[in-house]
Structure formats: structure tokens, C-alpha cells
Amino acid sequence: MPKITFIEHDGAEHTVDAEIGATVMEAALRNGISSIVAECGGGCTCATCLVHVDDAWSPAVGPPSAEEEEMLDSAFEVKPTSRLSCQIKVTEALDGLIVRTPSYQGR
């Protein structure tokens, strides 16, 4: 199973197993990463599952869709590498992915 590392705002690191085909948001929730809120359960309608993708991984993860880009307007401190984790599907190619989570998801 691919591994994903979440680095929280305070520097705490969690490396978790993620199922192929699941989303990065789901991997976070299943492993108790509380800085991912995911209020809408992956519907791309809440922007409370924001992550900043590690610079080195950003090209592999790719850019957000138009719908996601609009939803990013409702997130805070958005950077060029920011994504909504419910819109990132886990693939073999993302094994080792590193993302950072913000201190605050709007609630």
C-alpha cells in the first residue's frame, strides 16, 4: 500500500498507509489526522480538507480541477501547491507523498 506523510502545523509527522483508489482525505480520516476536517465528506463543497503538497511532489499530484480551484477560494492561506485532499486520488505513483496540513480549516 502506498504511504502518505502528513506534516501538521506544529511539525508533528504521521506516515500512514493509504488504499489505492481512496482519496488523501479518506486516508487522513481513517488514521485520525484531526487537522483534516472534511465537513462535506469529500463533496468538494466545504474546503475544510486543505493540504499544501510538498514542492517536490506537486508535479506528480497535479493541479486542481476548475471546480476545485473555485472551492479553494473558501480556504485560507492558499498557496500555488495547495489542494483539497478529497480531490487527490491515491495511486501507486503517489507512494511516499508528503503533504502539510494547516493549523485551521475555517472551523
Binding site: C40, G43, C46, D73, S74, A75, Y104, G106
Partner: protein
């Protein structure tokens, strides 16, 4: 305190489940009023995903969130419920056996024989930007909604956001503001194209400013803003003089006053009896996403089922001397009369 509005049942929350409760209660001759903090009905379906298709409403292969809200409004029309939108229920007090006094943040008072809490994931509240030290300015010079436009006359205004709320208030307030700056994180707006064009025309005419970036710091004293620091897309920091800031980053659901209503909440949810959907307080029911019981699924169809069973027990409080007879809408002329179809 104002004169109480008397009703059989007060429903807190006009999401899909609160709306369908009007129907099930109406069939049993129970009159309803509904209160919702949003300025529209439909709860999550209307606020979070109006355009998205829902595939698991029984017998309806596909309907959008907005479509479902509209269909429910049509279905409950015969029962003529009264809506109190843009208000939040703050307190529920037991004043009889059972009789409840319910108050809202706008000072409205209700008296009801039973209360149905259909509060979903809690009340929708504006997202607060994570700017250090923003709290003292909130509701003094940082506002998440416009209640009176006059407050902003001849002021330097900073509006933040890229959706319809930000654009609409930009267009409405620009004529009366001293100077208006619209700030958004990217030079692309998801609001209605017509509003975007009007805003761009004002910028081109020099009548307002458009900035791309994010607010990082606020300056002022005693709750009164004087300036904001903006970090541009290129990382450059600039200072904008401003008397008031209006951030529009959408809504988030917070449990809100439900926490203070005397329930022993489980993970922010109200435990209920699964045969009646009554809470630990007799006469107070909880249906839809706000409740919990073994096996609970947060689905619209579960909430609909819960509404039907709740109505049976609510009838007992509202019409204690009337015996309840089980009837079908297909064959009961009395039910059909209530629906206005016979």
C-alpha cells in the same frame, strides 16, 4: 419580550428533514412553524450542493440539491407552514407539561407543545479568516454580513472574496463608500459573470480598486480598524487604509446553541429513542443528521423515515385526546382533503 407566537410544533432547521417533517405532521393535523439561520430553505442541499445530483432518494433516480428543496416545498404547500428565515434558535425552555418557550437571536418568542430539532450538522456560520488578533474587530469593524448598508457610507472598505457575496456587496456598497477595495487570492472570479463584468468596469473607470492577494495583518485600536496588510500573489507586502473589512469565505457548520439545550451529546449528536425519535427531554424530538442511535446513517432517506415516526408520538402531545388511526394517502379521503386533492 415580544408576544409569543403560538404553534403546535416548532421545527428548528429547514433542511430536507425539517421540511419533510412539516408533511408528516401536517397529515396528522399538526401546525408548524420553522426557524432557520440561513436565508433560504433546504439546509445542506441548498447551501452546499444545489447543483450536485443526488442518486439515492427512493423512487427518484436523480435530483439536484436545489431540485429536492423545491420539490419538498411543493409537497408541503398544502400545510401552509410559516418560515422564520435568517434567525437562530438560541434557547428552549420547558414551561408546561409539556409546553415549550423557544427564543431566537432576533428576539422572537414561540410557544409550542412539542419541538422538533432538525438542526443537521448545526447552524451555518461564516468562516472566520485566521488573521492574528482579528477577534476584537469582529462586529465592530470586521463584518461577515451586511445588516445595514448605511454603516458603510463614506468609509474606506475592504471586501475579501471571489464569490457572489463578495461581488454583490462590492457593487452595492461601491456607490456609498469613500473608497472600496476588493481583494481576492486570484484574478478569476466564480461569481455571476454579469457581476464580474460590472466590477471590472468600475475598476477600469478608476471608481474602485481590485487587489490580488491575502490579508496577513490588521492595524487599529479598540475594535476600530485603520489598515490591513496585504500579501500579494508575488509575495510583496502592501498596506491598505481601511475603516471596515468584510470577509466572504463561505459558511461552515458549527453545532451552536444545540450544545446548551441540556442533552448528553454523543460526538456532538443528540441520542434518541429509535421508536419515536424523542430525546431524553419528553416533547423534544431530534431527526435527521443531528441525531444518533445504533446504526444511524446520515442520509436524507433516514431523516424522512425518522420524521414519519416522530409525528406519531408528537401527535400524542398536540392532540392528547384524539386517537390516531393509521391511514394511506392513496385511499384515505380525510388525508386527501388535507392535501387538497379530494
Amino acid at each position: 419580550m415580544s408576544e409569543p407566537i403560538k404553534t403546535d410544533v416548532l421545527i428548528i432547521g429547514a433542511g430536507p428533514v425539517g421540511l419533510f417533517a412539516v408533511f408528516e405532521l401536517g397529515l396528522l393535523d399538526i401546525k408548524t412553524h420553522l426557524v432557520d439561520i440561513l436565508d433560504k430553505v433546504g439546509g445542506q442541499c441548498a447551501e452546499l450542493y444545489p447543483e450536485k445530483p443526488i442518486y439515492d432518494i427512493p423512487a427518484i433516480p436523480l435530483i439536484t440539491g436545489q431540485g429536492l428543496s423545491e420539490a419538498l416545498m411543493q409537497q408541503i404547500k398544502p400545510f401552509n407552514p410559516t418560515f422564520h428565515l435568517g434567525e437562530m434558535v438560541t434557547t428552549i425552555e420547558n414551561i408546561g407539561d409539556p409546553l415549550f418557550r423557544i427564543t431566537t437571536d432576533r428576539g422572537k418568542v414561540f410557544e409550542a407543545k412539542a419541538v422538533v430539532i432538525a438542526a443537521g450538522g448545526g447552524s451555518f456560520q461564516p468562516k472566520r479568516p485566521p488573521i492574528n488578533g482579528i477577534e476584537p474587530y469582529e462586529n465592530k469593524s470586521v463584518f461577515y454580513a451586511v445588516r445595514k448598508m448605511e454603516t458603510f457610507r463614506d468609509k474606506n472598505l475592504l471586501i475579501v472574496g471571489g464569490g457572489d457575496s463578495a461581488l454583490d456587496w462590492t457593487l452595492n456598497l461601491q456607490p456609498i463608500a469613500k473608497r472600496l477595495t476588493l481583494l481576492h487570492r486570484r484574478d478569476d472570479f466564480r461569481g455571476a459573470p454579469d457581476s464580474v463584468n460590472k466590477m471590472r468596469a468600475l475598476v477600469a473607470a478608476g471608481a474602485m480598486d481590485l487587489r490580488i492577494g491575502q490579508v496577513t495583518e490588521l492595524e487599529g485600536a479598540d475594535g476600530q480598524l485603520t489598515a490591513a496588510t496585504i500579501k500579494g500573489a508575488d509575495g510583496a507586502m502592501t498596506r491598505v487604509e481601511t475603516d471596515a473589512m468584510l470577509p466572504f469565505f463561505g459558511l461552515t457548520m458549527k453545532l451552536g446553541p444545540v450544545a446548551d439545550w441540556g442533552f448528553e451529546l454523543k460526538d456532538e449528536l443528540i441520542p434518541v429513542d429509535v421508536s419515536t425519535f424523542e430525546t431524553s427531554r419528553p416533547g423534544l424530538f431530534a431527526i435527521g443528521d443531528i441525531n444518533t442511535y445504533p446504526g444511524k446513517l446520515k442520509l436524507i432517506l433516514s431523516g424522512f423515515h425518522e420524521a414519519a415516526l416522530m409525528a406519531q408520538k408528537a401527535h400524542h402531545y398536540v392532540h392528547p385526546s384524539k386517537r390516531l388511526v393509521f391511514q394511506y394517502t392513496t385511499s384515505s379521503t380525510s388525508l386527501q382533503k388535507k392535501l387538497g386533492v379530494s
